[in-house]
C-alpha cells in the first residue's frame, strides 16, 4: 500500500514577528519547522504502517522553495520512505487552490496512493483548506479533524476514524482511498529521530519535480492559477491590557457581573 502525507514547512510561530511599519511578517532569521499538524499526520501514518500486514510505503510530499527540503529530510528521518518536493518559480504566489492543484498534479505524476494524510491546518496560513481541496481534485471523500484512525481494512476497502467536533468525538467510516486532515491530540509526543534514523535518511530517495515534470500550462499554477489575491497583511490590533480585579472570587464575580451589566452585555 502507498500512504501519501502532505507536509508544509512553516516558520516557527513562536518566533514570528511583524514589522510594525510595513505590517509584513519578518521572515529573516526565523527558523523553519515542519508544520506540527503534519508531523502528527506523519506519525499517525507510521503507526498505522506498523500495524499493517501489507507492506506500506510512506511518501512525504511538499510544495515549496528549495529549502523546504529540510522539512522533507526531517520526515525521512522520522520514518517516511520517500520524499518529493514540488518546486519551481512557476508555483510561487499560490493561494490554497493553486497549492492544492499543484499537489494534485504531483499525486498524478506519482501514480496516486491508497491513503492520503494532511495536517488539519498549517500554522502560518491557517486556512485548513488544502486538505479538503485535495480531496476535491482527487474526487475522494475528505475527513477533517481526524484525531485517530481506529481501524483500517484494506481488503474490504474502508477505515474508521475518530473525528473531533465541538460536542465531542464521532466515529466515522469511509471507503478507501480518503483524504484525512489530521488534528493533533493533546497527549501527542512526536517521535524523535535517533542517530541511526538520521543517517539512514541520507540514503532515502528525495526527488524534486518542477513544472516540466508536472505538465500543464503555467497559467494553472502559482499566482496566475490563484483565485484569490492577498491585498494586505497586518497584525491583529493589540488588545488593551484589560482590567484586573483582585480579592476573593465572589467579590470578583460581582464586580465582573456589574461591569457586564454596565456594558449592556447582560441584565439581572
Amino acid at each position: 500500500m502507498d500512504f501519501l502525507v502532505f507536509i508544509k514547512q512553516v516558520p516557527d510561530t513562536d518566533e514570528v514577528k511583524v514589522d510594525e511599519e510595513s505590517g509584513t511578517i519578518i521572515r529573516e532569521g526565523v527558523p523553519s519547522i515542519l508544520n506540527p499538524f503534519d508531523e502528527y499526520a506523519l506519525n499517525l501514518a507510521l503507526r498505522l504502517k506498523e500495524g499493517m500486514e501489507d507492506e506500506v510505503n510512506i511518501t512525504a510530499m511538499s510544495m515549496g522553495p528549495p529549502q523546504a527540503k529540510d522539512a522533507l529530510k526531517k520526515c525521512l528521518a522520522i520514518g517516511a520512505d520517500r520524499g518529493i518536493l514540488l518546486s519551481d518559480k512557476v508555483f510561487g504566489g499560490a493561494d490554497t487552490w493553486a497549492t492544492s492543484f499543484t499537489l494534485f498534479k504531483g499525486v498524478e505524476k506519482m501514480g496516486g496512493a491508497d491513503l492520503y494524510f494532511s495536517g488539519q491546518e498549517a500554522t502560518d496560513g491557517n486556512t485548513a483548506q488544502v486538505g479538503p481541496e485535495l480531496a476535491s481534485h482527487l474526487n475522494l471523500s475528505s475527513m477533517t479533524y481526524v484525531e485517530d484512525v481506529l481501524d483500517i481494512n484494506p481488503k474490504e476497502g474502508y477505515l474508521t476514524a475518530k473525528k473531533e467536533t465541538d460536542e465531542g468525538f464521532i466515529k466515522l467510516k469511509s471507503e478507501l482511498p480518503v483524504v484525512l486532515s489530521c488534528m493533533t491530540p493533546p497527549d501527542f509526543e512526536p517521535k524523535i529521530p535517533g542517530v541511526k534514523e538520521i543517517m539512514k535518511a541520507k540514503n532515502k530517495p528525495l526527488d524534486t519535480w518542477n513544472h516540466d515534470d508536472l505538465g500543464g500550462t503555467e497559467e494553472e499554477y502559482g499566482l496566475e492559477g490563484s483565485e484569490s489575491q492577498v491585498i494586505s497583511t497586518y497584525p491583529p490590533p493589540s488588545k488593551g491590557p484589560g482590567e484586573k480585579f483582585e480579592g476573593p472570587a465572589e467579590e470578583g464575580a460581582e464586580k465582573i457581573f456589574a461591569l457586564l451589566k454596565d456594558e449592556g452585555v447582560c441584565d439581572d
Partner: protein, 425 residues
C-alpha cells in the same frame, strides 16, 4: 530553552544530518532532561537514572563513531562533537555530557578499535545499547597526571592474569555496579624503565563483578553530582587473557588515544555548557532593570558578555577543526581497527590541538558561569538557576578529570617546541 539563541549562526557550517541531530537532541532534552530535572538530579545525587541512560542510548549518541557493523552509528568525530556540544547545552551540570557520553564514547570507541571479539560483544555493544556501563580507570592514589607512574600490576598465570592495585577518582563506579559492565584498567606488566616509564603498561577490561574487585564509598564531589566518582581496590582479580586490550606492554599508547578522544568531547561539551550559561544569563540581563535600565545596557556587564561570547565562538570553530583532524586520522588509519599509518596529521599534531580545546573550553565555561552569577546578583547564587550547578560541574575538568590544565599546557609546549623542553624531565 532560553529565549536567547546563540547557536543560530552556527548552522551554515553544518550538514543536514548534523542539523537534524542537534534538533533531535534538543527535542529529547526538552522532554527528558529540562533544566529543572538537571538541577534536581544534581541535588539528589548519583547514581545516574537508568531511564535517561537508556533513552540516550536509544537515540544512538553513545559511541556514535563506532562502525555500524560493531553496533555503533558510524558517525564522524565532528558529528559526535556536535552531539557533545548539544548535550553539554542540555545538561550544563555536565553529568550527562561527561559521565555518560564523553567517558563512554571517548574510551569506548578506543576499546572498539583495539579490542577483540570478546571485548566487543561483552562490553562495547552492551554499553552502546545502554544496558551496561563502560568506564576508564587510570588514576591511582599516587597521582593522576603522571600516567606512566602507576603501581597496579598484572601477572600472567596460564591463560589468565592476576591484577592487584588501587584506582581512585573513577567516574561511574556506582552506575557500573548497578548496571554491570567493565572498566578499562591500566596496570604494569613489567617494571618501569627509568628512561621510558611509559613502557611495560598493559590495558585490560575488568568486569565490575569480577571476584576481588572491592569498590570504595564514592567521593562527595563538589559538583557533577548526578554521576558518581569512586574508587576500587583490586585484590588478586583473576581475568582471562581475552579481556586484554591490544598488545601486552602497549597500554600507554592506547590510553593516550583514549584521552585524546575523550578530551575532544569534553572540549565540545564545555562549549555547549558555555552557550547555555550565556543564553540563560542573557535572558535575565535583558529583563532585569536597575536604576531604570536593563542590566544588559551597562558596559560593565555587556562587555563581559561580548568577550565570553566571542571566545565561545572561537572555541566552537576550534573543536570542529580538532574533530575533523581526528576524523581524517581515523579514516586514513582504518576506523574499526588500525590498518595503516595516517598520513595527513601525526598523533602529535592532533594531540596539540586537542590539548588546546581541553584546556580552554572548560575554563571558559567556568568563567562564564562565574560571571553569570555576578550579573544576576543574589539570584545567581541561588541554586534554582543553573549557574552554580554548571560552575561546580565544569570545575571537574579544570582540576583534573581527563587531565588537568597544566598537563594540557605541557602537551602543547612539548608538541610545539620539542620534547627536549618537557618541564618534568
Amino acid at each position: 530553552m532560553a529565549d536567547t539563541d546563540l547557536a543560530r549562526d552556527d548552522e551554515f557550517e553544518l550538514t543536514e544530518e548534523q542539523k537534524l541531530l542537534k534538533e533531535s537532541l534538543l527535542d529529547w532534552g526538552e522532554r527528558e532532561l529540562p533544566l529543572t530535572r538537571v538541577i534536581e538530579m544534581n541535588q539528589e545525587g548519583h547514581p545516574y537514572p537508568e531511564d535517561i541512560i537508556k533513552s540516550l542510548a536509544n537515540l544512538g549518541v553513545i559511541m556514535g563513531p563506532v562502525p555500524e557493523e560493531h553496533g555503533g552509528s558510524g558517525l564522524s568525530w565532528e558529528d559526535q562533537a556536535i552531539i557533545a556540544d548539544q548535550i553539554g547545552y542540555i545538561d550544563p551540570s555536565i553529568a550527562t555530557a561527561a559521565g555518560l557520553m564523553a567517558v563512554e564514547t571517548g574510551w569506548g570507541y578506543t576499546l572498539n578499535r583495539y579490542g577483540n571479539e570478546t571485548i566487543q560483544e561483552k562490553f562495547v555493544k552492551p554499553a552502546i545499547n545502554g544496558d551496561q556501563f563502560v568506564g576508564i580507570a587510570t588514576t591511582e592514589p599516587g597521582g593522576g597526571s603522571d600516567v606512566a607512574g602507576f603501581e597496579s600490576t598484572a601477572e600472567r598465570d596460564g591463560d589468565d592474569w592476576i591484577l592487584n592495585g588501587e584506582k581512585t577518582f573513577i567516574s561511574g563506579t556506582e552506575e557500573a555496579q548497578k548496571m554491570g559492565g567493565a572498566f578499562w584498567v591500566n596496570v604494569r606488566t613489567g617494571p618501569a624503565p627509568e628512561d621510558a616509564p611509559h613502557k611495560n603498561m598493559t590495558s585490560f577490561c575488568v568486569p565490575v563483578d569480577a571476584d576481588g574487585m572491592n569498590f570504595q564509598e564514592p567521593y562527595r564531589d563538589a559538583g557533577r553530582m548526578a554521576i558518581s566518582t569512586g574508587g576500587f581496590i583490586m585484590e588478586d582479580v583473576r581475568i582471562p587473557d581475552r579481556f586484554r586490550l591490544g598488545e601486552v606492554d602497549k597500554g600507554f599508547y592506547y590510553t593516550m588515544e583514549g584521552f585524546d578522544n575523550a578530551r575532544i568531547l569534553i572540549g565540545a561539551s564545555s562549549v555547549g555548557v558555555t552557550r547555555r550559561v550565556l543564553e540563560e544569563a542573557a535572558d535575565y540581563i535583558k529583563e532585569r532593570e536597575t536604576f531604570g535600565n536593563p542590566l544588559a545596557k551597562y558596559e560593565g556587564i555587556q562587555f563581559e558578555f561580548s568577550d565570553l561570547y566571542t571566545r565561545m565562538k572561537a572555541l566552537r570553530l576550534m573543536y570542529q577543526q580538532v574533530a575533523r583532524m581526528q576524523e581524517k586520522r581515523y579514516q586514513e588509519a582504518g576506523k574499526g581497527e588500525r590498518k595503516r599509518e595516517p598520513k595527513t596529521y601525526s598523533s602529535t599534531d592532533v594531540a596539540r590541538w586537542i590539548s588546546m580545546i581541553k584546556w580552554k573550553a572548560p575554563h571558559l565555561a567556568k568563567e562564564a558561569a562565574d560571571k553569570a552569577m555576578h550579573w544576576l546578583g543574589a539570584a545567581g547564587y541561588a541554586d534554582d538557576y543553573v549557574f552554580e550547578t554548571a560552575w561546580k560541574g565544569v570545575m571537574s575538568y579544570c582540576v583534573g578529570a581527563e587531565g588537568g590544565a597544566n598537563i594540557q599546557k605541557i602537551v602543547i609546549g612539548r608538541e610545539t617546541l620539542g620534547p627536549e623542553y618537557v618541564p618534568y624531565k
